[in-house]
Symmetry: C2
Subunit: 346 residues, 2 copies
């Protein structure tokens, strides 16, 4: 200011007054700039929706106040917290596990779909039917104890790398969403993952990667069976029987089963999250309902009919979902416009 | 001390020294006597087991230290936290609901088992088969929305009284167990109910009665179905399809599904809790495994083969369970000897 001698006296006075007033309201805090919430979010409607929601629901005197025990925020995982395109990470895990399964059961070697997976022919693997995929999931996700499964999955998630970024899959989490989770938790929210992915799989890394403990992971879950080892020690075996298909309406049913409260905030990115957002929105008071739109082909991917692009094989942001979002006052997050950066490593 | 002039001088000196030392170690705290844990427990092996376990698992330097996120304590409900004899409280609820169900579906009026329930003939009702009971549970616990069920169950639990004590059923909770829950929570444990009872039913009152929030109630759970009302608002309907039979091995499967961690402490009272205690005990480090024995006919009830008494229709503390408890170092809580009082109102 003092380096600008021609500055208008009135403007200078105004600036001084404003600065003094600011100092009165906000005590000097060297960390405040750094601690500002959501640093990887651009200013805009999406960031503002999160900030407004948190303010409205935590102000004790406000009509939208939500008591701490009711502060539940639900996050879809694939496509909402980390990359889902062109194929779900857990499916890659299952494909990677096929050789180990076949080495234990050599009779599967020449049986489809295992034969195709073993061939390593990517084109052929991409053409596998849903039914084939199901056979692979059953063979690689069931039939072992929960401890064996946890150990295998942990080993894989700590070493496997994606082909595009050559990074661990857990590095392909969206930095702005990690910040949204932190911000909500800093304001008394408990963050839950509500995923179509396998509950046991996600629990392996959710605490380390998202700060979300196993009991706050709701996912597709199979039955387990209690038994005893030769040493008399009990164990649980993962059975090929579906208990909870945590997708679409199943997400709301899973929330009821596992949490028993209606979330106040929900984040998704596809038709699989529609009912969860509807359920969240149907509660009283301020509600946060957000959908991540994959519109950033350069930094991540762009897909979905809402963009006039073909569907991904995975998440489907259809025109119908886009229309419901508009009608129901859900906030669409544009990865391209709302996020300063996508990944922490960028 | 000063009222005993003949006291030995050395003993008096020792007492003074001890008292001074105590004053040095423990700063004067007028609330300390009142805050002593487990006031309704008599001194003895059971109380000591709880205190020792808490000390061992919360001492940071100890080899049995359990980090806060792993501090999970699981409690059976019926017969462990409140009276289960001669009939589970939830079954009384279901019987009480029959007239309302029949008034909506008059065609059931002359159909068994509804006819018998409507007759009010206690003897005949007591003779109903398990299959009959199942029909009553399905008719009274399913077919309505989760909100309708919650409202009905809440109304009942806040007014219905048991015939022996003329008290609300929620007053028939065991004061020593409420204190054990508080003591564990004061030491960083999260307390879960793991009950064969209905998850939706117990969640109605668990927060108020036990301080246990809905997401920490694991119980027998049925499927729900997502749908929309005429106003477009979504709701969940309780379906007559069992998802989780949270009893015996099902308790361990339920713990895996809903918590995803092995409890460090578990409390039960019957064969339905055997696997949960085994599972808890199979983990490393200090483990607390306790069984409530109903041996107090005067203040509550006495039943079970372990006492040479016939089984209750409900919880069954068999000789085999007693033997396993002995072999596996589980602690049996004698209601008669270990508890100063059973209920808060006594």
């Amino acid at each position: 200011m003092f380096e600008t001698p021609h500055i208008h006296r009135r403007a200078m006075l105004a600036a001084l007054v404003t600065s003094a007033a600011a100092r009165l309201v906000l005590p000097p805090n060297p960390a405040s700039a750094q601690d500002a919430p959501l640093p990887s979010w651009n200013e805009g409607a999406a960031k503002q929706a999160i900030v407004d929601f948190v303010r409205a629901t935590t102000e004790r005197s406000g009509s939208n106040y939500v008591p701490p025990e009711e502060r539940i925020a639900a996050f879809d995982q694939d496509g909402t917290l980390w990359v889902e395109h062109p194929i779900y990470t857990q499916v890659i895990y299952c494909l990677d596990r096929v050789p180990a399964v076949v080495s234990k059961k050599p009779e599967l070697k020449n049986v489809e779909p295992f034969k195709t997976v073993l061939s390593g022919d990517r084109e052929a693997i991409a053409r596998l039917s849903l039914r084939d995929l199901e056979k692979i999931l059953v063979a690689t996700l069931t039939g072992m104890t929960t401890e064996e499964f946890g150990a295998e999955a942990r080993k894989w998630i700590e070493t496997a790398r994606d082909p595009r970024w050559k990074r661990l899959y857990t590095e392909l989490t969206y930095q702005p969403m990690l910040e949204a989770m932190h911000y909500l938790r800093d304001n008394g929210y408990r963050t839950y993952i509500v995923t179509g992915g396998g509950q046991d799989f996600v629990r392996v890394y959710a605490e380390k990667v998202y700060g979300i403990p196993p009991e706050q992971v709701v996912g597709t879950a199979g039955a387990t069976k209690y038994g005893y080892g030769e040493d008399g020690k009990p164990f649980l075996t993962k059975e090929p029987k579906l208990l909870l298909n945590d997708d679409k309406a199943g997400k709301v049913e899973g929330i009821h089963l596992m949490i028993g409260r209606r979330p106040a905030a929900a984040f998704g990115n596809s038709g699989g999250d529609r009912q969860m957002l509807e359920w969240t929105g149907a509660g009283a008071g301020a509600r946060l309902k957000m959908l991540v739109l994959h519109d950033d082909a350069a930094r991540e991917y762009a897909y979905g009919p809402a963009l006039g692009l073909p569907n991904s094989k995975v998440g489907t942001f259809s025109q119908a979902l886009f229309d419901e979002a508009k009608k129901s006052n859900w906030t669409v997050i544009s990865m391209k416009n709302d996020w300063k950066r996508i990944f922490a490593f960028q």
